[in-house]
Amino acid sequence: MTDRGTTRPVAGTSFYVLLALADQPRYGLGIAEEVARRTGGEIRLGPGTLYGTLKKLLEEGHIGEVTPSGHDQDPRRRYYGILPAGRLALSAEAARLEQLVFAARAKGALPLA
């Protein structure tokens, strides 16, 4: 149900995966570990969820397979990097979240920064 032409934000798992890839390409388990680290172990992606999401993001053109240039590259693994469409979707969602946080602050649900 992608509405091509406008950039739709991504929700849930897709957001976490794109966020994990925002700074550098990673392979599957690396993404899951990054998400776990980033959320303080709160969110652990299962294999079904992770590769289902990767498949979907690949099909939607948000991410692509890349050959990383780092020294820690493992030739047996597939690395994924974020594509421009993915970066747009990520920022759209981040902006949406920001608005929500702003709204929450305005209503006193969060202390001012």
Partner: protein, 892 residues
Amino acid sequence: MATDRLARLLLRLYPRAFRGRFGTEWLETAAWYTRDARPGRLGSLRLAARLLADTLRTLPHAYLSGGPPGRRPAGASPGRWGQDLGFAARAVVRSPVFTVAAVGSIALGIASNTAVFSVVNGVLLRPLPYVDPDRLMVVWNEFPGAGLSRLPMSGPELQVLRGESEAFEGVAGIWATSGTVVEVDGTVSQLSTGLITPDLFDLLGVQAHAGRLFERAEGEEPTPAGVVLSHALWQQRYGGDRAVIGTTIQLNGRPTQVVGVLPEGFTLFFSEDSAVPPTLDAYTALPWDLAPLPPEQHFLRVVARVRPGVGVEDAGAAAARASGVARRLYPGLEATGDHFTVRPLHEDSVSAARPALLVLLGSVGLFLLLSLANVSNLVLARTLARGREFAIRSAIGASAGSLARLVVAEVLILSVVGSLVGLALGHLGTTALWGLRPLGLARASDVPLDHRVLGFTLGMSVAAALGIALGSLAAVRSVRSRPGAGGRGDLPGGPGRRLRELGTVLQLAVGVVLVTGSSLMIQSLRSLGQESVGFEPAGALTFRVALNMGRFPTDGERARLAREVERKLADIPGVTEAGATSHLPFVEWANWAEAAPPEGTPASERSAYYADLRAVTPSYLRAIGARVVAGRHFEETDDASGAPVVIIDETMARRIFPEGDPVGRTVLPSRFVNGSFSETPARVVGVVQDIRDRSPAHPSTGQVFWPFAQSPRWELTYFVRTGGDPSALAAAVPGAVRAVDPDLVAARIAPMDAHVRSATGITRFLALVGTIFSGLAVLLAAIGLYGLVAFVATQRTREVGVRMALGARAPEVLGGVLRHGARVAGAGVLLGLAGALGAARLLAGLVYGVSPHDPVTLGGVCVALVVVALAASLGPAHRATRTDPALVLREP
């Protein structure tokens, strides 16, 4: 690691392309995901459940979306299916009663099939755990001249069979006995042992766990050298200590060296009638050369390994040639037309279990059908009840496809959850079923949940989901075709009702078939219970005593011990009579066969008079309640100093003296004196009514009884009759036996009733399992009919209301609703009757004392089901009569 296995299993559920692309890393992530288990079974269970949930939740997506976005066909977007699944999942959760009923039905059907198929797989399908098991055959001895079948072989016959070396790579034999006495550190106990040809283990392809097994060279020595222990005995008696190998133990008083230990779980697979149990405690070897053994002493169960490429027919031809040679060499075998027949070992070993298991599989298959009909009915009812919702959706532009997707998504969820619950329940059910199995029904040591079982369950689940989905799609069509009517939730007749009627008819039919089957088994059980077995099994305790031949070598000593134990038993309060036999009915039967010809029989005709020879104490036949029909019982004076005498049974009397009046005539059975069997002329002093030997269902094959003092064998089973509860004697028996001699042990103490139950085990098992399934089947069918009648009655509320407003009386309305229920019930019962008659052929070999076409049973079952059906329709019919016309007519 169990979760690793689960992960690999789950990965296989994904499409090939997905696995190719992500497979290895998927497994890596799964391992990470399930890594930090809390220690213990519960922690890993929790993680396994999490992995399962994670996979199943996301699995549809892997199938539903395909290819890169450019190539995706229009309208098949993953999002829409995902949305439908999500919507359906919420809908399913919101109707817990419907969901539990549907999931429960699917789960029960799948679980029962998984359980029974697991047993069928473990027993009938899984290859025997030997090297090249397909090349193993059993060789039986047929004596058509004596009317005997499937007898063991004599030593010389096996020796002749070895000569057919073009067809057979090897021919091995075994004879099992439970009366071997072992002495360890001054305490004696009884072992079950196998006396085998030295090449048996080699032929099966078994390797020693420790030490070594018998080798051919060893068998060439005149006395069997050494004993091989089972893994279980080695663990229990010697704590798994390897130092025991090479030491000497006392077997039947003879010093015997322990040469090796068999691998854990080693099992023998011989048919139930072979008297070779699946496991034995220890094995000793026969000499290699069997030719010097008596040619007419048939005791060896023979298993042969055919050469590669040799089929059953070739092997049969080779065996037939060998029997021709044996008949020429040993004229005593002529008269019976003695010949050898060959059957594959696996097929032969499960021949008793196969019909029972197949009938069981058929029953649960029908039961699954019934459960599915039930679910279809439920989904149908739900879909029709949602007619208003669907009509609105349709009116605001939902396509037929999108409505169908909603229903199919629901069915998909129900089926997947139901199948998973079914698989789990099935695994429990397998354990329960396996625990219930009668002795001899199945000899497999376990029933694994392997790829065959999982494949079978998966296949059933897919078929189940398809069946239900098709049924529900028809319902959707019927709803959608009349959006106007749907708005009122008022659908008289139509395909929905027809489908439900069909489903209910099917359910009742299956119910009739299952109930007929189980009532036939119950009647068989009753007939077996009422069958005259020739003695009175109730109210008696039995136990076994082995007379150590090394410790008590003389005939006189063993005869004295037997008598003294009997006297001590008689002193126990509550004991009314006690006696002993070498072979207890239903327990120790037909371990070998020997001739007992009348005097003057030419050598070539001797084998027409095969008999089961038993040695009994004078009071034994009285104690078991055998009836003497001619002549007299044994007396204490029929001892070693008296003239040799025997009692024969009626079958034997007819066989030896067809002209009648056998008392006072002379026969030539062999007896055990001075350490070996020898033929002795003996006068017949009495004839007893036939005593059933193998089971209550098998007539006697002819028995000859010696007084124990005249044929003092080394093993005895005591039969102690009491006025009260036989188990109450169990505490007093060991002391009484030990008081006679500290070296005597009372082993396998059990009430005679227990042996009878175990001998009728298969019938009992089928009756029990059949009753459970047919009970569930009737319940489901009744619920189905109730649902149908209630549904139709509700649909007709307006009509009934109008008719009652116009003056119709309650009984007329009641009659109308009931008539509908009766029509459906009648159709179901008729269809079921046809099915039951068709299934009768399968049951023919399993029922006893009742015809599978028994009109009383069939009629009774039909009447009973019609009554149940009417009772189920009565409730909703009665409710229809209380319809308030005013209320109904006021409805929009």
